[in-house]
């Protein structure tokens, strides 16, 4: 649209809009003056209507907050993250879960979390202790990047000493390569 055209449009449309507004205001005033004797009740009714409207909004907002909190709490129910073999990278699918944990920790500066690092049985126990720590620290760093204070987080590596699934299958191994958030 050319600037001249826009100007013309505004010149035509703006007065119309202003007119419409003044009309509405005029009508309102008219109603108020006409129903003079019932002004008090009318005002009351209007107030009631207003307060109902306000409460609904608050409730809705409240419900939204509760909904969000429920969702966050549900996300926080997930306190376990799994890793690839010999890897300590936090996978993308856990970002939402970690954000929920971070939000909670940010909102509750007194809350503390212990992040446990675990491994499958492959490799030596000592090497797995080191690898488990790397996993726990990678989660800790992720939370810190989301604004969680370092003093709220501690880490402990159990290496291969506390398997979740004791059967020695590939599926069990992948369950054992994990970090666990413990509050």
């Amino acid at each position: 649209m050319q600037p001249t055209q826009l100007l013309k449009y505004l010149v035509v449309v703006l007065p119309m809009l202003t007119a419409a507004c003044s009309t509405t205001t005029g009508e309102d005033t008219a109603t108020a003056t006409n129903a003079n004797d019932t002004a008090t009740t009318g005002a009351l009714a209007q107030n009631d209507a207003d307060s109902v409207e306000v409460m609904t909004l608050q409730k809705k907002r409240q419900m939204e907050i509760e909904e969000e909190e429920k969702k966050q709490a549900a996300l926080r129910q997930t306190n376990m993250l799994f890793f690839d073999f010999d890897d300590s990278q936090v996978e993308g699918k856990y970002f939402e879960v970690l954000e929920a944990h971070a939000a909670y920790l940010r909102a509750n500066p007194g809350a503390k979390v212990v992040i446990e690092g675990h491994c499958d049985e492959r490799g030596t126990p000592e090497y797995n202790i080191a690898l488990g720590e790397r996993r726990a620290k990678s989660v800790a760093k992720y939370l810190q990047n989301l604004g969680v204070t370092a003093s709220q987080i501690s880490t402990v590596s159990y290496g291969e000493e506390k398997p979740l699934d004791k059967s020695r299958t590939e599926a069990a191994f992948s369950k054992n390569r994990r970090a666990v958030l413990v509050y």
Partner: protein
């Protein structure tokens, strides 16, 4: 104070338990030397708790260097040297026999004598060789390689005395000091919900098991003091890794490392004055050496990757460690005087958990090749590596003090069990346990 009391309550100290481990030889040695331990002749009334000759036979068979004959294969059971039919033994292909005599001295007290007899020499001389002594011909008895003095012992000491005889026979015939009176420490994890983690010390053959610590949280990495009176280990009983020194005779425990992060892989120096360990207090896992008297730490490694599993060279002048500094975990030797590191291993994808052989000529490692973890030995001069085991997920090798045998942890079926392999890889045995997962074995020094 309250904490200490709770600690003591949560740990049961030194409780004797039943022997849960027995040894199953899975790969023998055809070239092993044939020997016969003749059932010892007994004169007495008291019942003997075990047969000494059975224990000696089992010891020698388990060394991988001998092939002891079963009793039914023996052509005779001579009471003593005079009764030996040399020709009969020679025909059976046996070149050495051991005879013995046990007496019941008084209730609960026994006495034993034994002789190691060279059948070949006896066959040549007919047991009647003579030599000149002071101008006269006397019986030289040179077919008797060793004749013991009477050994007096308590009825509770049958196994110990048997192992002592095995040590003498082994040393007499191989020139290598026997290690049959040594012990192993290991971690046992049971299925029971209450305090499933146990640290156990047993004779090397699995008998005389004693529970040293029992905990609700993991126990790891036992390491013997050089005088075999103490164990250092890692415990998570306080919800973090901590290194403790445990006196096996007094039962007293002392925490020596509890820094933020990893406190792991303790390894006692050969002179007993220092402890190598892994701490991550400065960021990531690094190797440190602690002076046990002053508790001062010296940092040995400093890089951004994992450094772990320190183990001392026999002369105490260097450490072998596992390090990721070159990408994947490999073994490096670090000279303690200069701090210089020198890469030792190149074979396979990874090499971990190294320890020096007592002769300082090789290292025993956990090698990963094509995803399989096996125990291997690398010659330090030539750099050539020999894979010793064929089992699954092998880890935590520990070498017997005479350098003859390696005990390690492996997966058999659904269970973690201990297994033995000779340093040349030719003899293999499994030590099955019926009660849980057995891991982290540590072979004691000579007792």
């Amino acid at each position: 104070m309250k904490k200490i009391v709770t600690l003591l309550l949560s740990l049961v100290l030194i409780t004797p338990v039943q022997a849960a481990i027995e040894i199953l030889i899975t790969e023998g040695l055809d070239s092993a030397r044939p020997i016969a331990i003749v059932p010892f002749h007994y004169e007495g009334v008291a019942q003997m708790p075990v047969k000494i000759s059975d224990i000696i036979s089992a010891d020698l068979g388990r060394s991988g260097k001998f092939n002891p004959k079963a009793v039914f294969e023996m052509p005779q059971q001579p009471k003593n040297v005079e009764d030996v039919d040399y020709t009969a033994w020679t025909e059976k292909g046996v070149d050495t026999i051991v005879t013995g005599q046990i007496y019941d001295v008084r209730p609960g007290q026994f006495s034993v004598t034994y002789q190691i007899i060279d059948i070949i020499r006896g066959q040549i001389t007919g047991g009647g060789a003579q030599m000149l002594s002071g101008g006269e011909l006397v019986a030289s008895n040179d077919h008797i390689m060793f004749a013991s003095k009477p050994i007096s012992f308590d009825s509770s000491d049958f196994r110990r005395v048997s192992h002592a005889i095995s040590d003498k026979v082994f040393e007499q015939l191989t020139g290598i000091k026997g290690a049959f009176q040594t012990k192993i420490a290991y971690v046992l994890v049971t299925e029971q919900p209450n305090r499933p983690y146990q640290l156990v010390v047993a004779d090397y053959d699995g008998y005389n098991e004693q529970e040293i610590v029992r905990s609700n949280e993991p126990l790891m990495s036992p390491s013997w003091s050089p005088d075999a009176t103490k164990l250092a280990y890692v415990t998570f009983e306080n919800r973090q890794a901590q290194i403790f020194i445990h006196d096996l005779y007094s039962g007293s425990r002392e925490m020596i490392a509890s820094y933020p992060g990893i406190n792991g892989a303790p390894s006692w120096s050969p002179d007993g004055s220092k402890m190598a360990m892994v701490l991550s207090k400065d960021g990531n896992p690094e190797v440190y050496v602690m002076d046990l008297l002053t508790r001062r730490l010296t940092r040995i490694t400093n890089n951004r990757t994992i450094d772990t599993e320190p183990s001392w060279s026999p002369d105490g002048k260097s450490l072998v460690i596992t390090s990721e500094r070159g990408g994947r975990p490999q073994l490096y030797r670090i000279e303690l005087s200069s701090g210089k590191a020198h890469r030792l291993t190149y074979t396979g994808e990874m090499n971990l958990g190294g320890s020096f052989l007592p002769d300082n000529k090789g290292v025993v490692v956990v090698n990963r090749t094509r995803g399989n973890y096996h125990i291997a030995r690398q010659d330090l001069r030539t750099g050539s590596m020999q894979v010793l085991t064929k089992t699954y997920l092998d880890e935590s090798p520990s070498i017997s003090p005479n350098g003859n045998m390696i005990i390690y942890s492996t997966l058999h079926g659904q269970n973690q069990v201990l297994a033995l392999v000779s340093v040349d890889g030719r003899f293999k045995a499994r030590l099955p346990s019926g009660v849980g997962q057995v891991k982290s074995p540590a072979w004691s020094p000579y007792m």
